[in-house]
Subunit: 194 residues, 4 copies
DNA sequence: TATGAATGAGTCTTCATTCAT
DNA sequence: AATGAATGAAGACTCATTCAT
């Protein structure tokens, strides 16, 4: 809505975003009312609508902002690494690390995935992330390091492993990132057998 | 609410359940009102509350019923099979097959997973299913057919692969079950490498 | 919204319509909240939306219903009269009589005329009424009883006279209908001069 | 609010007035927010309240200013004319001409006429204008040029004709002022008959 | 003078649930 | 078993107005 904000404005906006993220993660999106959010920040109701067009828009922004942050993290992790398999390993680690540091977002993303209205935004985010993984896989196949199967499906499989392990081991069981990461990596690279 | 239902009553209840499932899958849980459901069935609003204590309860029932059905399907698939690795393969195939035949439930389960109120029910369902997988994995480890790593994490990894591939390949891309199944199995068993 | 209503339902609907009309006339449309209306009827807020899709829709219905009533009155007045000039006279009288008996509607119609959203509905009502007047005028011209000028403009002029005199003499000054009617008729038929 | 304004101040005030008039005419009074007005002028919200005590006050000012302008126009038209009938003719023409040149105000006045809050202001404006017309009529009656009927009612009738024809022929159909004027005059002076 | 930010009462509307018949 | 009607708490959002700077 607003394009140019004063320093104070940017801060308020950030407060609202952060507060909303926390409340959404704690109580869920629908159970959290705009009134709850502004009360938590300690401002009037109008403030919310000065900075955001709607509650939905705020969530959408949370989604895109978190995705931006996650991708930045992933890309920093693989910067300068040539080996595609190694890039996959590092990407998995970066993703797990990011979620460990931003646990709130996991619940938010999971909610959004189950809602008709936000699924499209998430789908787009996922596409982008997937495309990266697919690229690494294709390079790996060319190099002969990765078995020659449908790269898209393989990418999905990796994402599935990471998502599930994030939820169970990081969010649920609070295991150390490295350990979880190692398990995901070894499962993805070597599978069950031996 | 009712314990004993007439034949007609059981049918009504079934209609409501089926109609609700369809509408929840199409439009989402919250966007579907009780009024929508009874209108779709063509009955008055009171009927709904004759058979269900609340809208939430109906969803919970949908969740447990679908889980019961899925498990039955999985168990039928592995009945009489001794090889644990083979049991895992068959379980994956059965799961994918079930979702292919009950696509509506995928959306419903996904919604429930993102909702504070229903996550517990799902978590329980998942526990049960996981326990099965873990058992197979442990046997496989004892047999020396499966690498000796944390069986719980491995089970989660498998579930993640199946969930993601269900969503992408079955629901999204409408690929044939066998093909998807084969890919999931080979990924889980052999991993990416070679 | 509802199509089939029980007797009780029809009554409620009528109460809401009548109450709303009174309040709109007394305080204006915008200053009257849905809460005011249901409170005046003594029912819960949901009842309003059981019978009407929105506050706007209720007003629209008030507008069309009142128009229907007015037209019925006008047509009853001229039924069986052949002389077009006489029909104009009788139509003017019927219109004034109707407004005298339904003073509330005058304010409502006047409000609606000034609102972008309802002007179209009114415009349509006016078209219909105008068409009648034009027909009479044309017949009068053919008969040689009425001067041969643009019938549409003449019809508008008559409507203007009636509207203004309704507002001033009936609503404002509470003059007897017959007297006002006579003045309108003589003005329209004979003009100012002598 | 302010009594003495700088040149720049007067200009700003004028901009706000003009912009508001345009927006009110285009979208209606209530649908136009103060935010819309200041955005259209390109200033901050505070500016509005520097020059006007409230949105209502701005509209009231628009109403009185437009009335002042209209009256000036009418009086210029009849200046130095003795014949009362001729003065009526000229007044009608001047009124139609003014509205043709200030179409925006028609919608604004029409809105105000239907609003409890502004009707009084308009009523007063109308009184003044009516008084003029009544004076001409009375003189005409004394002269024997105008039939001896209630001058107030006659004045209202004339105003009704002019209002309706303004709306229909000028605003709606965009007919040339002279033509509309001639029709109004002939209707008012001669009526329908012959 | 001017601005961006803040206020908060007030509005419409939805909907799960209950009730009288 | 079933219905149409009723309830009312709760929610998102608007906007005229005010304030700190």
């Amino acid at each position: 809505m607003r394009q140019e904000l004063t320093a104070r404005g940017r801060e308020r906006r950030g407060q609202l975003l952060a507060c909303a993220a926390r409340l959404f993660a704690e109580q869920g999106y629908h159970p959290t009312s705009v009134a709850d959010i502004v009360a938590a920040v300690g401002v009037g109701k109008g403030v919310f609508y000065w900075y955001f067009a709607s509650k939905d828009e705020l969530l959408a922004e949370l989604l895109t902002a978190s995705n931006r942050s996650l991708r930045k993290c992933q890309q920093a992790a693989i910067a300068g690494v040539d080996d595609p398999v190694r890039r996959i390993e590092l990407g998995i680690g970066a993703t797990l690390g990011w979620f460990a540091a931003h646990r709130d977002y996991f619940a938010i993303i999971q909610f959004a995935a189950g809602d008709e209205k936000f699924a499209p935004v998430l789908a787009h985010n996922r596409e982008v992330s997937l495309a990266d993984t697919i690229r690494h896989i294709k390079e790996g196949i060319v190099d002969g390091r990765i078995a020659d199967r449908d790269p898209e499906m393989l990418a999905h499989a990796i994402h599935g492993v990471v998502a599930e392990c994030t939820q169970h081991a990081l969010i649920g069981a609070d295991m150390p990132v490295d350990e979880v990461s190692e398990l995901c990596v070894s499962f993805c690279l070597d599978g069950l057998r031996r």
